[in-house]
Amino acid sequence: MPRRRAGRRWRVVGVPVLGAVALVYAFPLYWLLVTALKGEGELYRATPSLFPHEPTLAAFSSVLVTRRFFVLLENSIIVCGATVLIALAIGFAVTYPITRLKVSRRLRVGVLNWALSLRFLPPVAVVVPYFAIVRGLGLYDRPEALVLIYTIFNLPFSIWMLKGFLAEIPPEVEEAAFVDGASRWVAFTRVLLPLAAPGILASGVIIFSFAWSEFLFALILTASPQAQTFPVGVQGLVTQFEIIWNDMAAAGAIAIAVPLGLMVLARRYVLAGLTFGVIRGQ
C-alpha cells in the first residue's frame, strides 16, 4: 500500500538524520560538562582530551564557594522570581479583560499588537537611556532596577501566553459560578485561576527562564555581588589572563541546569505555552 511504502522511505532517511541531529545537540552539552569536570592540570595538555582523565568537582566548588557565585545565584533567583510574580500579575490584569469580558475587537487586537511591539524593542538600544534613568533614580547596582526592566521585556510573553490559556477556558464555567451567586472576584480566584493553573505554571517557568538568561542589562546596570546576576558571573569567567576553562564551563553548566530543571519539571504545561497555545501537552 502506498502509505506504508512512503513511511518506510521516510524512515530510512529519518533515523540517520535524527541520529545526527541528536549528536549535534548532545555533544556540545557533553563537552561543557566534561570540561567542567576537568582539573586545572588537565587543561595544559597539548590536545584537548575527550573525557576527563581525573574527573573532579573542583571547578564547581571553585565557582560556587571560592568565587562566591552562590551569591549571584541567589540574586538571580530573587530577581527572576520577582519578575515572574509581577509579570504574571500585570499579564492577568491585561488578559482577563480582553478574554473574559465583552470588549471590542479593536481593543483586544490593539492590546495584543502593543504587546507584540515590545518584542521588537532591541535591548541594547533601550539600555542607553535606561542607564541614565537608573543612575538618576539612584537604582544603579540594585536588583529592583533589573526586576523592573525584566518585567517590561517579559510582558509580551506573559500576555500572549496567558491570553492563549485563558481563551481556552469556556465562559460557561464562570457563568455557572455567577449563577450560583459568586461575585466576579470569587469566580476569578475560585474557578478561573485553578483551571488556568497549568497555563500560569507554564508561563511562570518560561518567564523565569527568559529573565534568568538576561545578560546585557545585568552587565550594564550592576557593579557588585549586591545585584549581579549569574549570567554576568559566567561572562566574568571568560577571562584572558587565566586558564580557567573548567571554572567557566562549570559556571555555564550551572547556568543551564537551573532553567533546564524547571523546564523538565513543568514540561507538559510549558510545551503548550511555547507554541503560542497551539498544542496541548499530550
Binding site: E40, G41, L43, Y44, R45, A46, R67, I78, A82, L85, I86, A89, A93, F131, V134, R135, Y140, D141, R142, P143, E144, V147, S183, R184, W185, L219, I220, A223, S224, P225, Q226, A227, Q235, G236, L237, V238, T239, Q240, F241, E242, I243
Partner: protein, 431 residues
C-alpha cells in the same frame, strides 16, 4: 467595580512590599566593616587575594574582591564613576586608564588627602605613573593647568618583558635576532617560533607597542599629532603582522595572554612577550608548567632604532571619590604596599614593586624574572600615551591591527584607517 479597585490596590501594595524587601536586603548587606575592591580577573590579582585573609585577621576588615575581565573592568569603572555610586571603596586600575580617571577627577588624591609620601625603596617611575597630570611627556590640553597629585599606588609592578627558551638558545639582543631564532625553531604543529598575542583591542596593542617604539615609531608625537601612519610605524606593523605572524601558530587573531603563556608552559612555543602575572600563574607554576627552569626572562629586545623599549602596565590601587570608606581604604593601601606585606604578597604570586624585594637573591631564586623586572623598572620603561581618550584609541588601533593580522586589510590600509579614525576622535575630544 469596587472589588477591582481593591485588587489593584492589593497588587500595588504587594509590589511595594516586594520592592521594600529587596531594598532592605540590599541595605543589610551593606553593613559590617568591609571594603569592596574592584579587581581584574586573572593572575594579576593572585597576590591581592592571597593577602586579603591576612588583613582581615590583623585589622578585622573584610575585603570583598569583585573580579571582572579586563575590558569589562574598565567599562564597569567608568559607568560606576559616572553614576557617582559608592559601590567600590578601592579600585584596581591599569595605568593607561589613569589619564581618563584623572581628567574626570573621579579619584581622591592620596598625597593631599591621606598624606602619602614617596618611599625610596619604590622606584620613582612607579610614583610617576600614579601621578596626574603626568610629570613628563605630553600632557592633554585640558590638564595643563592642573596641580599634580598622586592618585594611585602600584600594587602590581607590571612591566612587559620578553621570554624565550633559554635551554635552546642564548638571549636575543634585537628583534631581528628574535625573528631569526623564531624561524630556526619554528615547527608548525609542535613548536611555534613566536606567539603573537593578537586578540583585538588591548591584547594586540600591548604586544605591539614595544615593537612600535623599538622601530622608532609611535602613536602620537609630543604635541598629540597622530603618527601611527609614519614610515617607521608602518615598518613596525609589517614586522608584526607579516614577519612574526609567519612564525606564529594559527589563530593568532584570537590568542590572548593566558593562551600564549599556556603554549609556552606546555612546550609548544619558543618565545613571546610576557607580563609577570603570566609568569607566576602559568609559565613558572609548578602545578601546570612543563618548562620550569627552561625559560629565560629579559627586558625587551632592541629594534632598528638601537633601543629596546619596555612597556609599563602597572596595576594601581586608587580610592574613588564616591567611596564612603576612604580612610579605611587608604589604610589598606599603606598596609599592602608595606615591605613586610609585600614579601608575603610576592611569595604568594603577586608582583611587587619594591627594589629590596626584586633584588633579593632568595626571592630571585623562586622568581627568576625578578631581576629582569628590576632592570626594566630602572631603565624607566615607556608608558602608554597619557590621554583620557586612550581607551578609544586603543580600541581603534587594536581593531585595525587585528584586521590586518587576519589578512582583512593590508598594513598600509590598516595604519591609514587607524590614523584617520584616531585623528577624528582626538579632534572631537578637543586635542
Amino acid at each position: 467595580m469596587k472589588r477591582w479597585v481593591g485588587l489593584s490596590i492589593l497588587t500595588g501594595v504587594a509590589v511595594l512590599a516586594l520592592a521594600a524587601l529587596l531594598a532592605s536586603s540590599g541595605l543589610v548587606a551593606a553593613q559590617g566593616a568591609k571594603l569592596v575592591i574592584a579587581a581584574v580577573a586573572g593572575n594579576e590579582s593572585l597576590g591581592l587575594k592571597a593577602v586579603a585573609p591576612m588583613y582581615e585577621r590583623e585589622h578585622g576588615v573584610k575585603l570583598d574582591i569583585v573580579e571582572m575581565p579586563y575590558p569589562t573592568l574598565y567599562e564597569k569603572l567608568v559607568t560606576t564613576f559616572q553614576a557617582g555610586a559608592p559601590t567600590y571603596d578601592l579600585v584596581m586600575l591599569d595605568d593607561p586608564w589613569m589619564p581618563k580617571f584623572g581628567t574626570e577627577e573621579w579619584l581622591t588624591p592620596l598625597d593631599s588627602t591621606y598624606g602619602f609620601k614617596r618611599d625610596r625603596d619604590i622606584p620613582n617611575v612607579i610614583y610617576e605613573v600614579g601621578t596626574w597630570p603626568p610629570p613628563r611627556g605630553p600632557v592633554p590640553p585640558s590638564e595643563k593647568a592642573k596641580p599634580k597629585h598622586l592618585l594611585g599606588i602600584t600594587v602590581v609592578g607590571n612591566v612587559e618583558m620578553f621570554m624565550y627558551r633559554k635551554d635552546l638558545s642564548p638571549a636575543p639582543k634585537s628583534w631581528d635576532e628574535v625573528l631569526t631564532n623564531a624561524k630556526k625553531f619554528n615547527k608548525p604543529g609542535s613548536m611555534a617560533g613566536y606567539v603573537v598575542r593578537g586578540a583585538a583591542t588591548n591584547p594586540i596593542v600591548a604586544d605591539f607597542l614595544p615593537i612600535l617604539w623599538s622601530f622608532g615609531g609611535d602613536v602620537f608625537d609630543a604635541n598629540w599629532n597622530v603618527v601611527i601612519d609614519s614610515p617607521a610605524s608602518l615598518r613596525a606593523v609589517k614586522f608584526l603582522v607579516q614577519d612574526l605572524k609567519g612564525v606564529a601558530p594559527s589563530g593568532s587573531e584570537n590568542i590572548d595572554a593566558a593562551d600564549r603563556s599556556r603554549l609556552m608552559a606546555i612546550g609548544q612555543a619558543y618565545q613571546s612577550t610576557v607580563w609577570p602575572g603570566e609568569v607566576t600563574g602559568i609559565v613558572e607554576n609548578p602545578k601546570v608548567s612543563k618548562v620550569i627552569g627552561k625559560v629565560g626572562f629579559i627586558p625587551m629586545p632592541a629594534g632598528p632604532s638601537g633601543k629596546g623599549y619596555g612597556m609599563m602596565g602597572n596595576w594601581l590601587l586608587a580610592i574613588p571619590k564616591a567611596s564612603k570608606n576612604g580612610g579605611a581604604a587608604a589604610a589598606f593601601i599603606t598596609w599592602v604596599t608595606s615591605p613586610k606585606v609585600q614579601k608575603t604578597y610576592a611569595e604568594a604570586g603577586g608582583i611587587p614593586a619594591r627594589k629590596s624585594i626584586l633584588n633579593d637573591p632568595a626571592m630571585n631564586k623562586a622568581n627568576p624574572y625578578f631581576s629582569a623586572l628590576a632592570k626594566s623598572l630602572e631603565a624607566v620603561p615607556n608608558w602608554r600615551p597619557r590621554t583620557d581618550q586612550w581607551n578609544a584609541v586603543e580600541t581603534i588601533l587594536g581593531t585595525n591591527l587585528n584586521a590586518t593580522l587576519a589578512g582583512l586589510s593590508t598594513p598600509e590600509e590598516a595604519t591609514k584607517k587607524a590614523a584617520t579614525e584616531i585623528r577624528a576622535l582626538m579632534k572631537k575630544a578637543g586635542y
